[in-house]
């Protein structure tokens, strides 16, 4: 600390959206630097699900006409990976930052609530998509995915990861400890994901459970995503996209309001 600090006097140059893009870049680096844990491990888990369930349930009949169980399962598992990892990215980043206290580095700068929101959201979407793409890439050589409507695949991957990224931001803001976040994950996210039709078609369920599935927004994400591959779904992809988009909009507005008011971030 021997030299002059006179360069402090010059005026810094401020770039538009630099705060937002830097926070996104930091969040991207945060998961990419540990990609064995944040990308490879979830992809491997999804593949194990596919191998075990695909093998043991291969003779249970075709969930959709002309679509065997393994092919049916693959998009569901890819979407499950998208959902869980998008949620994990924003929730764990925020919760850990709050726990360790380094959230202060994000709270001190002049970032707006929208910059904060969209940076965490975009990073969550990115990790969700990377993991989902990883699962699909690994299944290509032994599963016949028809890619009937690739645009719907992209739309539902984006919508699904965005919904979970937003939920992750809420969970991360709400949680101050690992067990609080684990409760959110185990009692809300995991049941909704497993009961969303990843492993089965809704029409294989008794009527009561079919009705109940319609209340689960994750069902529409998985169903619409699967429609993109096989051109067959339990509900119309337009209806599914509409419901998910409305959920995303409502959650986004709520989350931005929470960030603006400093909920559990600023006191």
């Amino acid at each position: 600390m021997s030299e002059s600090s006179d360069k402090l006097q010059s005026t810094p140059r401020i770039g538009p959206l630099t705060g937002f893009s830097t926070l996104f870049y930091k969040e991207w680096l945060r998961f990419w630097k540990v990609n064995v844990q944040t990308v490879l491990a979830p992809v491997l888990s999804a593949l194990l699900f596919l191998l075990v369930f695909g093998h043991t349930l291969r003779n249970t009949g075709e969930p959709y006409p002309g679509v065997n169980y393994t092919a049916f399962l693959a998009p569901g598992l890819a979407m499950m990976s998208v959902l869980q990892n998008a949620f994990a990215n924003s929730s764990s980043s925020l919760m850990q930052s709050k726990m360790t206290g380094n959230i202060i580095f994000v709270l001190l700068p002049p970032l707006s609530h929208r910059e904060f929101f969209f940076a965490y959201l975009l990073a969550a979407v990115a990790r969700g998509l990377v993991c989902g793409a990883g699962v699909l890439l690994c299944t290509l050589w032994f599963v016949d995915l028809r890619w009937a409507h690739p645009l719907w695949v992209i739309v539902f991957a984006l919508l699904g990861s965005a919904v979970m990224g937003v939920l992750g931001i809420i969970a991360g803001m709400q949680s101050n400890k690992v067990d609080e976040l684990a409760a959110f994950q185990n009692f809300i996210i995991l049941p909704l994901t497993f009961l969303s039709g990843v492993f089965y078609s809704m029409y294989s369920l008794p009527p009561f459970w079919q009705q109940l599935s319609h209340l689960n927004p994750f069902f529409y994400i998985v169903d619409g995503f699967r429609y993109g591959f096989f051109g067959i779904g339990d509900v119309s992809p337009w209806l599914a996209a509409g419901i998910v988009a409305v959920c995303l909009l409502a959650l986004s507005l709520l989350t931005q309001w929470l960030i603006k008011t400093g909920y559990k971030l600023r006191h």
Partner: protein, 298 residues
């Protein structure tokens, strides 16, 4: 003189607890200002309000004229804060940490300045080392670097030398002094009163969320402290008439507390009258610790 910081009747309540009870103070541009108080007095709460980490329950705070709530973007651009806790992001190197922090403030291509900050803080050879691998003192220096990356005119240091070894403390003092000489307004909170006395031109003291003193360091020392004299006396030692002034020692070696230098003559007269010879005498300079204790015990 323009105000770098203005705090106007700021109240902060946490449920039933009042952390700040209507604090008002002003720090002029270019000042080296000390904010002192015992633990729980509200120093960190006040700093958190200035930094936008906490919202005031009522009242207003401004940094370089920008309201910290309504005009928070401009207020945060002109403020650098070194937090009390030794926090860091374990995913990044020192350079990445500074580059990211610079980006949060909207600064692109700030590499030259980051190199300068690294150099000033003796961190150049650690630039590409992960934060986890740094010692506590180095992490503290990175925190200072993070507060400087956007070249703020006002810098708040919340106990920057807590838990820091003597050598690093000295070099931090030197660096902070230089920032102040370069025109930066410095607000320092510390529990090391000799540090505040040596560095700060003006000092405010907080007690239970209220400002109980706000004056120049010299005035505080004059106004509150009086003086002390250390005596080595021949037998029979301190006469009974001077016993009430004794704060330390017994017999021939003792320390007496006086209201001011004009009390010295009275002590010498009492010793002369009692026939006690003075072997050694030293008038002790007043210090901030004494002032602090007096103010806090009122």
């Amino acid at each position: 003189m323009n105000a770098a910081i203005e705090v106007d009747k700021v109240v902060k309540r946490y449920g039933g607890l009042t952390a700040l009870g209507g604090v008002s103070l002003r720090v002029d541009c270019g000042e080296f200002f000390g904010l002192l108080g015992p633990n729980g007095a509200g120093k960190t709460t006040l700093i958190s309000i200035l930094a936008g980490l906490n919202y005031p329950s009522s009242g207003h705070a401004r940094v370089m004229g920008h309201d910290v709530v309504r005009d928070y973007r401009d207020a945060r651009r002109v403020l650098g804060v070194v937090p009390q806790e030794l926090v860091f992001d374990p995913f990044f190197t020192v350079r990445e940490t500074l580059t990211i922090q610079s980006g949060y403030f909207g600064l692109r291509n700030n590499g030259a300045w980051i190199d300068e900050v690294l150099h000033c803080l003796d961190l150049t050879d650690k630039a590409d080392v992960n934060m986890r691998q740094l010692s506590g003192g180095m992490k503290r220096r990175v925190l200072i670097g993070q507060a400087l990356v956007h070249k703020p005119p006002v810098i708040v240091l919340d106990e920057p030398t807590a838990g820091v070894d003597v050598e690093l403390r000295q070099s931090l003092w030197q660096f902070i002094r230089r920032l102040n000489q370069d025109g930066h307004t410095i607000v320092l909170t510390t529990h090391y009163l000799e540090e505040a006395e040596a560095l700060c031109g003006r000092i405010a003291m907080l007690k239970q969320g209220e400002i109980v003193a706000d004056d120049s360091t010299q005035n505080l020392l004059k106004r509150f402290s009086g003086c002390q004299i250390k005596l080595k006396l021949a037998a029979p030692g301190l006469p009974p008439s001077l016993q009430p002034l004794r704060v330390e020692g017994d017999g021939g070696d003792c320390r007496l507390a006086l209201d001011g230098y004009d009390g010295v003559e009275g002590v010498l007269a009492a010793l002369r009258n009692a026939g006690v010879a003075v072997l050694e005498m030293e008038v002790a300079q007043p210090d901030l610790e004494e002032v602090f204790v007096k103010i806090m015990s009122h």
